[in-house]
C-alpha cells in the first residue's frame, strides 16, 4: 500500500494551484483530447512543433482531480524541447516517476491521462481531421 497521505505533498499541490501552461496555445500545430473512462474527466493538449518537429510549446486544459491536473502541468513543463522520438521513449513508468508519490492503479490512470493524450497529439496535426467533437473524446480505457 502506498502511503496515500503523501500523494498530496507540497510539490503536487504547487502544480495543482499554479499550473504550468494551462490554457490554449494560439500557435498550436497539433492537438488531442481524451478522457479517463473511470471518472469521465477530460483533458486537451495543444502542442507547437517547430520545423524539425521539436516540441516548442506544450499547453493543456481540462478538468479533473489534483493528480490529473498536477501531472499534466508537470508533463507540459517536462516535454518542451523534446523531439518526437524522445517523447515516444518517455514511458509510463517515467511519467509516474515524474509525478513522484506512489499511486494505486486507479489513480495511476489519473496521472497517465495527459501522458496518453500527449502521445496521441503527435499524430494529430491541427489541419487534419480533429475528432475532438466526438462523444467526450476518445476513451483511453482500452490502453490502460
Amino acid at each position: 500500500m502506498p502511503s496515500e497521505q503523501d500523494i498530496y505533498e507540497e510539490h503536487v499541490l504547487d502544480h495543482y494551484e499554479d499550473p504550468y501552461h494551462r490554457g490554449q496555445c494560439d500557435t498550436a500545430t497539433h492537438a488531442e483530447e481524451g478522457n479517463n473512462p473511470l471518472c469521465g474527466d477530460e483533458i486537451r493538449v495543444e502542442l507547437r512543433l517547430d520545423g524539425e518537429g521539436k516540441i516548442k510549446e506544450a499547453w493543456f486544459d481540462g478538468k479533473g482531480c489534483v493528480i490529473s491536473q498536477a501531472s499534466a502541468s508537470m508533463l507540459m513543463e517536462r516535454i518542451e524541447g523534446m523531439t518526437p522520438e524522445e517523447l515516444k521513449e518517455f514511458s509510463a513508468t517515467e511519467m509516474l516517476e515524474l509525478f513522484g508519490p506512489q499511486l494505486t492503479p486507479n489513480r495511476q490512470k489519473c496521472c497517465l491521462l495527459s501522458w496518453r493524450v500527449v502521445q496521441r497529439a503527435l499524430h494529430s496535426p491541427l489541419d487534419e481531421d480533429d475528432d475532438s467533437a466526438t462523444f467526450g473524446g476518445p476513451s483511453l480505457g482500452e490502453e490502460s
Binding site: I7, Y8, E17, Y20, G40, K63, E77
Partner: protein, 433 residues
C-alpha cells in the same frame, strides 16, 4: 406500507458497537492505521460472520448441485436453497415463494424484465417512464429496449429538494396516458437518499393501466417491504447490499405476469422437455432459473435476511436516520459544502452526498481514505441525475447498521480538512524549480 410512513420502532436501544463484533472486517484497522470507518454501504455492504459461515458451512458440510439430485447431499442443498427462497418470500411478504426468482443481481433482474416482459409487451410509440434519479441499471436496459422495439424513454424531473415533482409527474401521465406501458422507478435514490412514495406511484400507474417495476436495491437493506400492500408488478434487489453474498439478487414478479412471460435464459432446469425441434418451459420458479443457480449465494442471502430481520428493519432504518441527522447538522456548519438531495433527513435514507466547490470528488474520497474513512466518489452510476444537478460527480457517505455517531463525526472532520487543504485559496504558489 409506504417506506415513507415507517412506524416508530420499539424503544429498545440500538447498539451498533455490539453489532460490529459480528463483522470481522470492521475489527481491523484501515490501511492508514486508524479504525476503519466503512461509509460505502450504498455501493456494497460488509458481511456478518453468520453469513460468511453459512457459505463455508454449505461448502464444507452439505454441498451438491440442486434440484434433480437423488442423493443426500443434493437433497440437503436443494432443501436449503428452497428454504432461502421462502425466507425471501416472507421478507417481501410475497403471496407465494414461486414469485421469488433468484437472479445474479438487481442489474440482471431488470434486464430479465426488459428482455421478456418488455420485448413481449412494448412497441413503437409506447413509453417507459423513469425518474431522473435512476441508477444506470434502471436506465440502460430501457434504452436497449427502445433500440429493439422503438419505444420512448421518458424521465420525470426532480425539484430542488431532490424529489420527483408530483405535479410534473401527473403532467407526464396526462401527456402520455395509456402509451405509458411501464413506470420503473427506484424506491430510494442511491445518490440523493430520497425515499419515494412507492404505494402512491403504483396506484397511479394502475389507474393508467401501466405496469410498475420497483428498484428496491437501496430499500431492501434498510426498510420493510410489503409487495402485497405495495402491489408492484416487479420488484428487484441485490444480495450484496444487505449483508449477503455477491453474485445474487432477487426478481420478484406477480405470478400472473411471470406465467404469461416467455422465459429468458435457456438451459437446464428451466425446461419441462427438450427435443431436437424445440422445448417446453418449466413451471415457476424454475422457468426463470436456467442452469446451475447461485446455490451458496442464495443460502448466504437467506442467512443475511435472517440476520437483518432478527435485528429489525425499522430499528435499522431509525438508526440510519439518526446518523444522517447528525451528519446534516454538523455539515451545515462547514462552508462551501453543497448537500444534494432532500434537506430534511426525515425524507431520506442513510445517504449523504455532497460536493465541495472547487474540490474534485475523487480527491475528497482519496483524502478520506488516508483517514481510514471509506466513501465513494463519482457519478455513482447516475449520470443523468448528476447532469441535471449540474455536477459531473459527487462524494457519498452511506450508512448502515454498524456505523456509529463517532464515525459520522470523523467523517465531518475530514470534510473540514479537505476544504482547508484543497479548496482554491486564490493565492499564487512559489515558482517551481
Amino acid at each position: 406500507m409506504d417506506p415513507s410512513t415507517i412506524t416508530t420502532p420499539p424503544a429498545t436501544s440500538f447498539d451498533p458497537q455490539s453489532l460490529r463484533a459480528d463483522f470481522p472486517i470492521l475489527l481491523q484497522k484501515a490501511a492508514s492505521g486508524e479504525p476503519l470507518a466503512y461509509l460505502d454501504n450504498a455501493a456494497s455492504t460488509q458481511r456478518p460472520r453468520q453469513v460468511i459461515d453459512a457459505i463455508s458451512d454449505c461448502y464444507q458440510r452439505y454441498y451438491a448441485n440442486v434440484h434433480r439430485g437423488i442423493h443426500t447431499l443434493s437433497e440437503s442443498s436443494t432443501d436449503r436453497y428452497e428454504q432461502a427462497r421462502r425466507s425471501v418470500s416472507v421478507f417481501l411478504n410475497a403471496a407465494s415463494s414461486d414469485e421469488v426468482l433468484f437472479a445474479a443481481g438487481t442489474t440482471a433482474a431488470i434486464n430479465t424484465v426488459a428482455r421478456t416482459w418488455g420485448d413481449q409487451n412494448v412497441g413503437r410509440g409506447d413509453v417507459i417512464l423513469l425518474t431522473m434519479m435512476e441508477h444506470h441499471a434502471n436506465i440502460v436496459p430501457w434504452h436497449q429496449l427502445a433500440e429493439r422495439v422503438g419505444c420512448e424513454v421518458v424521465f420525470a424531473p426532480l425539484n430542488d429538494n431532490g424529489q420527483v415533482d408530483q405535479q410534473q409527474l401527473d403532467a407526464l401521465w396526462q401527456q402520455h396516458g395509456s402509451r405509458i406501458k411501464l413506470f420503473a422507478f427506484t424506491a430510494v435514490s442511491n445518490v440523493l437518499g430520497t425515499i419515494n412514495p412507492v404505494q402512491q406511484w403504483v396506484r397511479q400507474a394502475q389507474q393508467h393501466g401501466a405496469r410498475t417495476l420497483v428498484d428496491a436495491a437501496q430499500t431492501a437493506p434498510h426498510m420493510a417491504i410489503d409487495v402485497q400492500a405495495w402491489q408492484p408488478d416487479f420488484l428487484v434487489f441485490s444480495g450484496h447490499k444487505l449483508c449477503g453474498p455477491t453474485g445474487i439478487g432477487v426478481l420478484y414478479g406477480r405470478r400472473e405476469l411471470l406465467e404469461s412471460m416467455p422465459p429468458f435464459l435457456g438451459g437446464g432446469a428451466m425446461i419441462q422437455s427438450v427435443t431436437t425441434e424445440g422445448f417446453a418451459p418449466a413451471e415457476l420458479p424454475d422457468k426463470f432459473e436456467a442452469g446451475t443457480p447461485p446455490i451458496t449465494e442464495a443460502i448466504g442471502l437467506g442467512a443475511a435476511i435472517d440476520y437483518l430481520t432478527d435485528i429489525g428493519l425499522e430499528r435499522i432504518h431509525r438508526h440510519e436516520v439518526n446518523l444522517t441527522q447528525h451528519a446534516h447538522a454538523l455539515l451545515a456548519d462547514v462552508p462551501g459544502v453543497r448537500l444534494i438531495g432532500p434537506q430534511d433527513p426525515a425524507d431520506k435514507s442513510g445517504i449523504v452526498s455532497f460536493a465541495i466547490e472547487g474540490v474534485h470528488a475523487h480527491d475528497i474520497a482519496q483524502w478520506m481514505d488516508t483517514r481510514g474513512i471509506a466513501v465513494r466518489a463519482g457519478h455513482h452510476c447516475a449520470m443523468p441525475l448528476h447532469k441535471s444537478l449540474g455536477l459531473s460527480s459527487s462524494t457519498r457517505a452511506s450508512f448502515y447498521l454498524y456505523n456509529t455517531m463517532d464515525e459520522v463525526e470523523r467523517f465531518v472532520e475530514a470534510v473540514r480538512e479537505v476544504r482547508a487543504k484543497f479548496a482554491p485559496q486564490g493565492r499564487r504558489r512559489r515558482r517551481r524549480s
